[in-house]
Symmetry: C2
Subunit: 443 residues, 2 copies
């Protein structure tokens, strides 16, 4: 509706009205709205955005929109946008642009900025360096609060975050001062007396997941990034940390469902990529399921003698698989949030053992009674009930031990989730079930 309204105004050349609408809209909303336009219309509308908002809208656009604009921009337009765009947003854009457009961008910026961008582009994809910005407020310890605020007034407008200021000496970070401290302290106070020297910082090569953990743990607005020589080279701001948190949760959920994670949203990922992200794991799972099949084949004599046994296979396999999946999901999430570590293994195993006994007994009772009522066969009811308790203990222990071990040897625990656990648990579910059945029925 809004899209059509704006589109109509554009076609009727009501540019002033379009400009007025765009003036009051939020930058993120403008980017979302323009995504619904075709490229030409989008570029046209983009040029009507007030100059002080254009860079922010641009930063919120997706790769395709940014590519198109960089391609059709005049020299002057590109220069203006690049001037206003924060460094980390520029790097984000460059990471996804086709090579010829990257060249166009790098040719447009000043030499010092080009060198900086080239440096930032070299950081590995998951590292802090790839999400940091180099625009921050830097103070000296001999400055007063009033001098610091004057400094911020002069330089702050171009800094992404001014709410944490960094006190440096010979490029080394020696303290931090929050804007709140500055705003609530006396003008004459010296930064040296105000700054906190107990600083949480990371390295350019720190994994971005760890950065997100620090933001979550310490409720940070920004986090300083040091290079190998302990020099301050940039900061990460909380909005980028939130993006990382969301991305990591999505990655974990994908992996837990046996999908290789995609960097792009669902619709922006091609059918071919979707298929590739899925079939590899399905093939791996098939191999282990085949083992279960072979084991079942081994008990052919048993179910030939008592075909009814076969019809309980899905229920037992599913219950075992789901029971294991429950535990592994809780452990994987606990590991991700640092609530559980490998050292907790004995506590976890003991806890899961007790839980599995409780759950196993409840399920055994419910099913034993059901089977007895339907088939009037006490032995069968006993086989099902006893199998359920055994399967539940086995599946819950597998569900906690495997993710913990994966973590210990440096693998991603999320891989040890439902699909893999299910397949492993299936095998011994079948073994437990048929062995109890053979024993009870003397097959």
């Amino acid at each position: 509706m809004e899209r059509e309204h704006l589109s109509n105004l554009l076609q009727n050349r009501q540019f002033k009205m379009v400009r007025n609408i765009l003036k009051t809209m939020n930058e993120v909303d403008i980017a979302t709205l323009l995504d619904d336009f075709d490229d030409k219309e989008m570029a046209f509308a983009f040029r009507l955005i007030p100059k002080d908002k254009a860079a922010e809208v641009f930063a919120n656009m997706n790769d395709n929109m940014q590519s198109y604009l960089v391609e059709v921009f005049s020299e002057k337009e590109l220069e203006d946008i690049l001037d206003d765009l924060y460094i980390d947003d520029t790097v984000d854009m460059l990471e996804d642009l086709p090579a010829n457009l990257v060249t166009r961008v790098l040719d447009t910026v000043s030499q010092s900025k080009r060198e900086l961008l080239n440096l930032l582009l070299q950081y590995p994809d998951d590292s802090t360096g790839s999400i940091m910005t180099t625009e921050y407020i830097s103070l000296r310890q001999f400055m007063t609060v009033a001098e610091s605020m004057a400094h911020i007034k002069r330089t702050g407008i171009h800094k992404e975050s001014i709410y944490t200021c960094y006190v440096t000496e010979k490029r080394k970070l020696i303290g931090i001062v929050s804007a709140k401290d500055l705003l609530t302290s006396d003008d004459e106070m010296h930064i040296a007396d105000l700054m906190k020297t107990n600083i949480i910082s990371v390295n350019t090569h720190t994994d971005q997941e760890e950065v997100a953990d620090l933001f979550r743990k310490y409720n940070l607005i920004a986090l300083p990034v040091l290079d190998r020589d302990e020099h301050l080279v940039g900061i990460v701001t909380f909005d980028d940390a939130i993006d990382v948190m969301v991305e990591e949760a999505t990655e974990d959920i994908s992996k837990m469902a046996a999908v290789s994670p995609s960097e792009k949203p669902y619709f922006e990922t091609s059918v071919f990529t979707h298929a590739r992200n899925r079939f590899v794991w399905l093939l791996v799972l098939m191999i282990s399921a085949t083992i279960t099949g072979a084991i079942i084949g081994h008990y052919e004599a048993a179910f030939a003698a008592l075909p009814l046994l076969v019809s309980f296979i899905p229920m037992l396999m599913n219950t075992g698989g789901s029971g294991g999946a429950q535990t592994s999901a809780l452990i994987i999430r606990g590991l991700a949030l640092k609530e559980i570590t490998f050292g907790d293994m004995p506590r976890v195993v003991f806890k899961e053992f007790r839980v599995s006994i409780l759950v196993g007994i409840i399920l055994a009772l419910a099913n034993g009674i059901r089977v007895y009522i339907i088939y009037q066969n006490f032995s069968l009811a006993f086989v099902i009930a006893a199998s359920l308790v055994g399967i539940m203990i086995g599946s819950k222990l597998t569900g906690c031990v495997l993710p913990l071990c994966a973590k210990k040897i440096g693998m991603d625990p999320a891989i040890m989730a439902a699909p893999l656990i299910t397949t492993i648990v299936d095998t011994f579910s079948i073994l437990i079930y048929f062995n109890i059945a053979i024993y009870v029925f003397q097959l």
Copy 2:
């Protein structure tokens, strides 16, 4: 190690050294460290924390530690902590304290604060009201930048967030000004000319999940909360929004693994609660798995004639279940991040259909060839391959349609994840498989 060091110092009555160590430590780290102490030692160490840090440490402690301290605090100590604690942290604490201690706290605070706390405690658990704070900077539009900054200097120290200031008139919110705007604008400028009037706000009863979405979408530091009469009553700060995001992701992961979500971390949840959170879903899943079992029973004649058929059941069921789980996980996450909506159903179905054909063919080839090589039986190889394609199409379509429909009718889509999808997919996997087998082998 750090714990032992501090513990030794305490036992040797080296209080000054303990105080010096605590002085340089981060508040979150102190709270974590004290968690390893026994209660008495913890209370003792807590009293050695510098006064300006104590409230922040207290806010970061878990329920048990807070309860114990509130119980053993002197009147004066409790008063001091409550004075320094932000309102939202006080509410957080009160929500988990035993009734007698809640009374103790409410008896200690001033009447106006008691009324405020009672009001905040009434908001539903998942609502914005339950996570907001009432301490914010409020400005008037006729104030100048210099006057505003003087106002912040007088009152800001007790506000949780001063980085977004709220311009009110007759208690209504008419604009917002960021601290960055204040710090980088001329002293004489009026707030009316500086404030943004296009405001993103929520209501006290807005679901906290929606609040977290707004922070993520718009990169906010704080978000104003209005009551029914559009009066400004509080703000939510980004740290609380991050907590909600993490909590919601944990909840989704739990539900996707058929575990009723727990509000507390893994170890703080009792064995009994763990069992209760898990067996209900397992019972539900059992019922549907029983249907699959009954269907298998229906084909007794088929596998009595060709027992080999049974050994492929686990592989086919698992592949179908995992294929469906993959799709449902992607769709559920896409829905949670608002990347996918119910209206996208046709696009999603078409995409999943193409993906499932691709994946199905790859799996069919791999397995068909394997079966042919092992059993030298072309018909069997064909049955398995054809079943796989059919199962993959069915499971991927189920995996996308069910979560979308759940969302549409107001259910939580996360419930439509792996365990439920697996059980549903199992049923038609068996149907497809046996029908193809019966047709091909003329059983």
